[in-house]
């Protein structure tokens, strides 16, 4: 028999128990912490700050040709010029209006259809299959048809953005709905909740984390779609500004456009995250 006898196990146990008492407290074996340390307030800025720093160093030392990538301070001064001329605000406003109306339509449709297909079998049969098939087609491949159906005006642009937003919102909301714990459904039944109350008090609470996750993906997708549609025969917007600058080889204006996209993306993602923290304050998770 190779297995340790009962006496051996007992002896080991005694030794283990004695260890913390016998050894000085410093040497006592610490429990490994698997949860994360509480995050520093602006810790996430460290990486981006370093990146800008390297960029600045390369530009200042002449390693980086300004025709390839202008220096960070050129971007700032060009940005200030563009604001003085009023071009930046004007184009930004147009772009933001496109993106946000696409976002609103897409997210609303995503949540509504997810509710129908998530909470009724017939809705699921009708809607979910179509959505899954459509998922296989990249949205950008649909643009020729969109142009054919909706022309090259604002309707086409907002529609493309809305469709891009729709998918992540629908998919995450739908899977969160389908993942509602059956125990919570039983509870709602024993409490005699009406269908509407079940939706508002139980389903909404259970679905909100998924919905907000979908919305975060949706917001990112909205900016992506915006970039694409604004390069299609647009006459205004940040994308138009960048396309125009490309034609005149104004790399500094192109850079400003890029920075604006980054700022917009970050700001909107931050807004959804803030919303998430407010709405989901009941949760206790690894990252808090």
């Amino acid at each position: 028999m190779n297995a340790p006898s009962f006496e051996t196990i007992a002896a080991v146990e005694i030794v283990l128990r004695q260890e913390p008492i016998a050894a000085p407290p410093k040497a006592a074996k610490q429990v490994r912490r698997l949860g994360l340390d509480p995050p520093a307030r602006f810790g996430w800025l460290l990486g981006p700050a370093l990146l800008v720093f390297y960029w600045g160093v390369l530009s200042a030392t002449g390693w980086l040709d300004p025709r390839i990538l202008p220096a960070p301070w050129t971007a700032v001064s060009t940005g200030i010029d563009l604001i003085r001329e009023g071009r930046l605000q004007e184009n930004l406003l147009v772009s933001a209006a496109r993106a946000s109306s696409g976002l609103v339509f897409g997210a609303a449709a995503g949540v509504a259809l997810a509710l129908v297909s998530g909470l009724s079998p017939m809705g699921g049969y009708l809607i979910d299959g179509v959505v899954q098939i459509k998922r296989g087609v990249p949205i950008l491949a649909l643009i020729p048809f969109m142009v054919l159906w909706f022309g090259i005006g604002e309707v086409m642009k907002v529609t493309v953005i809305a469709i891009t937003v729709f998918f992540p919102v629908y998919i995450h909301t739908h899977s969160a709905l389908r993942a509602i714990d059956i125990k919570q459904v039983e509870l709602a039944e024993t409490l005699g909740l009406s269908r509407l109350d079940f939706l508002r008090q139980v389903a909404l609470g259970a679905t909100l984390p998924g919905l907000l996750l979908g919305l975060r993906f949706g917001v990112t997708a909205a900016w992506l779609a915006l970039v694409v549609v604004e390069q299609l025969n647009a006459t205004s917007g940040i994308g138009y500004m960048v396309t125009l600058a490309r034609n005149y080889a104004q790399s500094d204006v192109m850079l400003v456009g890029l920075v604006v996209y980054a700022a917009l993306g970050l700001a909107s993602d931050g807004a959804v995250r803030l919303l998430e923290r407010r709405v989901l304050s009941w949760r206790r998770t690894l990252a808090r």
Binding site: K183, Q184, E186, E189, T190, D197, Q201, V202, L208
Partner: protein, 242 residues
């Protein structure tokens, strides 16, 4: 002693020839059961004996089960599950008042929480409460509905021994104060003796025994309780040490 009214009042729960079949688990074979107003009945049985199936049938949660039989149950039925089943996104008070209506629902919720000794914790999130506290919120959620029948499915099974003793005292107090008919599913013989007027034992889907627990209120010890304990344990297939 069982109150005199129990003998004359009509039963609030009446089950006749109840049969239930699930594809995977839980079988009931012709169960007959009456529970009178204000009567506290403990339902004992080994695991797989059909305890939970009977309770789920009474709670109306057995949509997918096949079977026959007749169930008469009151309109106001409340269920307490083994897990507290609080909605984590609602504060304690909102969990208690969930599904209630009326302008005074908030006040009634605060009163119900006070009854389970949780005054001041109305705004706590469920994850901030201990297991015993969560189960007390679940009890308050059941009480606020003024149930005529309270169904409890091993409500204290997940609690530590000390908390369980306190919960026994609380449930005893509340059931005397509100006098609903109670069906308490448990595998704990001592819990049944401590709380119930009557204990029924399920075995392989039929009632194997129906035993009145005619002991005075308060701590139930002594020879009579010990004899009952031995009898229940042997009904459950455990030979108790004398």
């Amino acid at each position: 002693m069982i109150p005199q009214t129990n003998i004359v009042s009509p039963p609030v729960v009446s089950i006749r020839g109840l049969t239930r079949r699930y594809t995977l688990k839980g079988v009931l074979n012709g169960v007959d059961l009456d529970i009178r107003r204000g009567e506290f009945v403990a339902l004992l049985g080994r695991s797989g004996s059909g305890k939970s199936t009977l309770l789920r049938a009474l709670a109306g949660l057995d949509h997918e089960a096949e079977g026959q039989g007749q169930i008469v149950r009151p309109d106001r039925v409340a269920v307490v599950f083994q897990d507290a089943r609080l909605l984590p996104w609602k504060r304690a008070l909102d969990n208690v008042t969930l599904g209630t209506t009326g302008p005074d629902r908030r006040r009634r919720g605060i009163e119900a929480l006070a009854e389970v000794e949780l005054s001041g914790r109305e705004q706590a999130w469920p994850h901030e409460l201990s297991g015993g506290e969560q189960q007390r919120v679940a009890l308050a959620r059941a009480l606020i509905r003024g149930p005529e029948l309270l169904l409890a499915d091993e409500p204290f099974g997940a609690l530590d021994a000390l908390t369980r003793i306190r919960m026994h005292a609380l449930l005893g107090k509340l059931s005397r104060a509100h006098a609903p008919a109670v069906l308490l599913v448990t595998h704990d013989v001592d819990e049944a003796i401590a709380l119930a007027h009557r204990a029924i034992v399920l075995e392989d889907g039929h009632l194997a025994a129906d035993v009145p627990i005619a002991l005075p209120q308060g701590p139930r010890r002594g020879e009579a309780a010990a004899a009952l304990r031995g009898r229940f344990l042997s009904l459950l297939g455990v030979e108790a040490a004398a």
